[in-house]
Structures are given as C-alpha cells and as structure tokens.
Amino acid sequence: MRGVQESQPGGGNEPCASGLVRPCDAYEVHSLRFRYQSTDSSSSPWILDDVSFQVSQGEVLGIVGPNGSGKTSLLKLLARLASPQQGGITLFGRDLTAMGQDEIARLVGVVPQDTPQLFPFTVAETVLMGRFPHRPRNRWGSGFGWESGEDMAITEDAMRTMDVAHLAQRAVTDLSGGERQRTMIARALAQTPNVLLLDEPTAFLDLQHQVEIGSVLCRLKDERGLTVVLISHDLNLVSQYCDRLLLLAEGQVVRLGTPDDVIEPLVLEQVYRCQVLIDRHPTSGVPRVTLPGRQSTGNK
C-alpha cells in the first residue's frame, strides 16, 4: 500500500516538497477581529478576536473548538463571504480584499455546512456549477453559455472522485445527507481550486464515507498539492487526517500545532469543560480522544 504511494510525486515524508518552490503561504491571517454588524454595534461581542495563523501550501489544517467558538465565521472570512473589521488575510501572498470574488472562486472552493436543497437540479448539474468561475467572458453578462467538453470532463472526474457519478441523474432534493454532502464537495472540486475550505464535511456521513473523504482529501493534497482547511467536531478524524490543528475557543486561538500538540488532556478539558481520555490510535499512533463514559475509571 505504501509502496504505491511513495512512487508518486510528493508522496514521501515532505508532502509539499516535490521540487516546488514555495513562494508564500496559502493563507496568512494577521490579527483578525470580526463581529457581525448589528444596529447597536457597541454591544455586539467579537466573534473572532486577534486571530493570527498561516496555512502552508499543501497542508491540511483542521479547525476545532466548541460550538460558538467562531469556526464557521473564520471559514467565511477565509472565503471572503464576510469581511473582518480589523486585521488582514492574504491568499497566496495577495490581499484578499483586493481580489475579485470571481478570482477567489478560481482559487478557493468552499463547501458550506450542509443545507437542504430546494430545487431539483440533477447531481450532474449541481457539480457542473463548479465550472461557473471558469466560464468564458462575453457580452452576455453572467452568460447563457453552454459548458465545454473540458468542463464536462472535469465535472465527471470530480464526481468519480467523490463517488457520486452513479447519482448523476438524481435530483439533489432526493439525496440522503451523505450523498448531498459528497455532491457539494464534488462541486467544489470541479472548481479545480488550489484551496478547499470545508465546514463539517463529515457531519452526515457514515463511517465508510468519513474514511473515504479523509482519504480523498489526503490524496488530492499529495497528488495536486491541494491545501485544505476544514472544520470538524470529530477530534479523532482531524487527528487522523490533519497536519495541524487550530483550536479556537471564544474567538481566540488556544492552540495551534500538530495533533500531538493540540490534543492534550488539560487543553481539551479547559476548552470543552469536560473530562476526556486520550490515548494512541493502535495503528497510526495519532492521539485518540474518548469520552470518559458512565463509570469513572482512573482518568486524570
């Protein structure tokens, strides 16, 4: 299994070092402060308060933290779906606010939290929408434009990657949560992005598809140097698949580092306000989090 992987470029111990020069980080986030606008702006609390971090190219960064810690807001800021009040974000060395939404869409694919779909687009039509930022310019405004053969091929490739090709003709309104989620990830992949932002990508998935999504993200990272930022509540999943974790609590960065640095009993107990057991995954050796259960064993 490993032999196959190592023959691929970038498959060694240095995932990003396949002869590529790394001119800059994928994201550089600098003392970010953000809150939602309200009529009475003085009283609204900061959702994110002085958040700084970098995301290297070809890195998988997991954002974790309790409910309401600002994870989704942070992801929206990275996609420029919202704008920070203070601080700045650069994407591949360029100021995010200076870039057009279109330009960002060609670099960054976003998979928002799962929302039910209301209109019966087919799965193929939905994934094909990922080609929208790459549409040719013409006087027809946003365009009536028929998709090219290349668009079709990229779309089909994305659908196969996410295992939804067999659903091509189904309406997205009739999909299960997991199928819909995979369709939405396929749509983001059809954008052929350099960066993928995912909000709870495995929330509705069964075990098989959780593992598959983790593996696919890793494969895309190894093969295409894709940078991934994902939010998850599943600490074991991010421990398994992320290079680094960003632990947020009350809008501030509590820890930023490898899963080993972040998934520590004292840190998690302080942030989540409950006791957890932490041991090692039997095969991969990454930290593993277990809830203490009803009978209190000799945990610390």
């Binding site: 299994m1 992987q5 691929q8 970038g10 498959g11 111990n13 240095e14 995932p15 890195e59 998988v60 929206k76 996609a79 779906l81 939404q101 330009e103 960002i104 869409a105 060609r106 976003v110 929302t115 779909q117 209301l118 019966p120 687009f121 799965v123 193929a124 039509e125 939905t126 994934v127 929408m129 929208f132 027809w140 405004g141 946003s142 365009g143 009536f144 668009d151 079709m152 091929a153 990229i154 779309t155 089909e156 490739d157 659908m159 196969r160 090709a165 091509a168 003709q169 309406a171 593992v211 983790g214 593996s215 696919v216 494969r219 698949y241 290079d243 080993d260 090692r280 991969s284 050796g285």
Partner: protein
C-alpha cells in the same frame, strides 16, 4: 502514557491512507452529458411549448360570446397578414373580422404577454429568495403597484382604468416605491438577508392592501366597482398601439432578466455558495429586483392583481422539466402565457356575455395547488 513518536515532522497523507482508491477511468464527461440540459432538449421542449401556445391561442380565438368557425378565422387572419383588406365581402364577414381582429386577438395576445411576464417574474423571485412559493405578491411589489394605480384613480386619472396612459406609470411608481421600502427595511447590513426580506414583503402587503381597501371605500360606487374588478385581475381588449407599447416594454425587461439565467442557477444553491462561486450576488439581486418591479408595475397596471400564475406555473414546470433556469425561465414564460390565455377565455365565456375577472379563475386553479404544496410537499418548502 504517551507513545513515543519518531519525529515531529509533518507526515505524509500517504501514511494514513486506509485504502488505495482504484484509479478512475479517464473522464470524457459522458456521465455528465446524459444528466444535464442539452441544446437539443432545450430546442425540443421550447418548440413543443411554442406549438402548444399557438394551438391554444387559436382555440381561444375561436371561443367567445359567438364562436367563430376555424376556417373563417384562419381566412381572416391570413387576410390580415397579406393586407388584402378591401375584399370584405358583406356585412357578417365584416363583423366577424372586427370581433376577431379588434377585440379577441389583442386580448388573447395581451393575456399571453401578461402570463409570460407573471410566470417569468415568479421563476426569478423563487430562485433569488430560495423559496418555491415566492412571487411578486409575496414581496408586496404587486400591491405596491396596485396602490400606485389606485392612488392614480383617486386623483382622477380617468374613469376607465386601462385606456389611461397615466395608470401604468402610477403602477410602476407604486411598484418601485414598494421595492425601495422592502429593500431599505430588509437591509440592515451590507448584505440583504433573504428571510427578513420575505417578512418585510408580508408586512408591506398587509399595509398596501389596507390602503387600497380604504381608497376603494371612499370612491363613488361606480368607480369603486370598476376598481374591485380590476383588483381581482381583469384583462380587456387593448388597442394595437397600447399592445405594442406593452410588448416592447415587457420584451426589453424580460430579455434583461434572461441574461441572469446562469447566475440564477447558482443563486438557487444558496447565497454563500453563490458568492463562493464568484457570483456578484448583491449586483444580481439589485438588477433582478428592479426588473421585477418594472415588469410587475406594468403588468398590474394593465391587468390588476392576477395571482398564482407566478407561483404555480414555475413550480409545475420545474417538476416536469427540471430546475435549470436556462430552460425553466423560457418554458415557464410560454406555459404561463398559454395558461393565462386559456384562463381568460374561460373568464370570457363561462357566463357570457358577463365576464368573470380572470384573477378568480387563476386563483381557483392555483389555490388548491398551493394547499397541496403546503400540506403534502412541506419538505420542498423553505
């Protein structure tokens, strides 16, 4: 407790792959091709719907207080096209000719245009608001337009409602005012949240309706009867110059709306998703709202409040042919036009020579469908 790790250096994902994905066959897009809207499907469906519209319009011309035989009807129509008008051969043929060309034909054409516009506006608003029940009535744009026209009547803009040039302008002004208020009230940040917009529309609707009722109640009984009929939605036979005016006005607005079809597809995914795909959602929303107000203002001023077409037609068409707006918008326009021609023919002939307001027919046809959606298709509603 801790197991020692060899090194802190970043590990390759390859180490953690639980299973190797089988290498996928090269993609040709054939899977996609079979599951999306294609040019041939678009042309086929629009062709069939256009043919249906022509056939239904002939049937509508046939029916009336006095049915006209199809053969004679076609002869008169052909005669009108080939401009040999002088060969009118006798009194009865002349009357038929007048009824057909001066009364029925303009009315059928107006019905088609109004139906097209209402259905198109419905499609666009449903996508934009991600609400399959949205139409201009929900947003309060039609009642704003109606209020504008009613104020026009109150200020003495003529005793007949439709022949007056002032009324469409009043209706349009009312629609725009309603729209500006909706937009202002719903905009509490740099972006326009869609749920507050819907709620604002509901509240405005209540206020405008109350004001219209007030105006109706203080008008003298003759005019107030006419106003009630108009409010319920009534088509009349316009002059050809009036018809051309409406045609030009609506065509330009609808063509501008058609420019947004691809953006509409993506807006239907949700606002954040659309923005992350590079759609300038604020700009799209603004232009769509303004065009909607223009079309609605014009339609309301010529035909009053014809309800349910903007809601029912797009919904039914979407169930039948799918959600891609490149087909959905023109197909709904054709179906809406055909539907209103038919409904108006029923309104004209049901208890001829008395006319039933066509709004009653469309409400009776659309209301039960609305209830069906609410009761049995809740899962499909926002």
């Amino acid at each position: 407790m801790k197991l020692p790790l060899a090194t802190g250096s970043p590990r390759s994902c390859a180490d953690r792959l639980s299973h190797k994905q089988g290498s996928a066959p090269p993609a040709h897009g054939n899977v996609v091709q079979g599951a999306i809207l294609t040019r041939s499907r678009l042309i086929l469906i629009l062709g069939l719907l256009s043919l249906t519209a022509v056939i239904v319009s002939l049937v509508c011309l046939h029916f009336g207080a006095q049915p006209i035989a199809y053969g004679e009807m076609l002869r008169v129509l052909m005669g009108a096209i080939t401009v040999d008008q002088a060969e009118a051969d006798g009194g009865s043929a002349d009357i038929t000719r007048t009824i057909l060309l001066q009364i029925r034909l303009p009315r059928v054409l107006l019905g088609f245009l109004v139906g097209c516009s209402l259905a198109s506006v419905g499609v666009v608003l449903q996508a934009l608001l991600r609400n399959p029940l949205a139409d201009p009535y929900v947003l309060g744009v039609s009642s704003g337009a109606a209020l504008g026209a009613a104020v026009g009547v109150l200020c003495g803009a003529g005793t007949t409602f439709l022949a007056e040039a002032a009324l469409p302008a009043c209706g349009f002004a009312g629609g725009i005012v309603a729209l500006v208020i909706v937009y202002r009230m719903a905009t509490n940040s740099e972006r326009l949240p869609i749920h507050s917009l819907l709620l604002t529309g509901v509240i405005l609707n209540a206020i405008f309706s109350a004001l219209i009722m007030f105006i109706t109640s203080i008008l003298d009984p003759n005019r107030s009867y006419g106003m009630m009929a108009w409010l319920m939605g009534t088509l009349t036979s316009p002059t050809y110059s009036g018809l051309v005016g409406v045609l030009v006005y609506l065509s330009i607005s609808l063509i501008l709306l058609f420019r947004q079809v691809r953006a509409l597809n993506i807006l239907a995914l949700g606002e954040d998703a659309a923005r992350s795909l590079g759609v300038d959602t604020e700009r799209a929303k603004r232009s769509i709202f303004i065009l909607t107000a223009l079309v609605t203002g014009a339609v309301v001023s010529v035909s009053g409040m014809i309800g349910f077409i903007g809601m029912v037609v797009p919904h039914a068409v979407r169930l039948a042919i799918g959600a891609d707006h490149r087909l959905l918008l023109p197909a709904s326009a054709l179906v809406g036009g055909t539907f209103l021609m038919g409904a108006d023919t029923i309104a004209r002939t049901l208890i001829a020579p008395t006319e039933v307001p066509v709004g009653i027919i469309t409400a009776l046809a659309g209301g039960p469908f609305f209830v069906y959606l609410l009761l049995w298709r809740k899962d499909r509603l926002a």
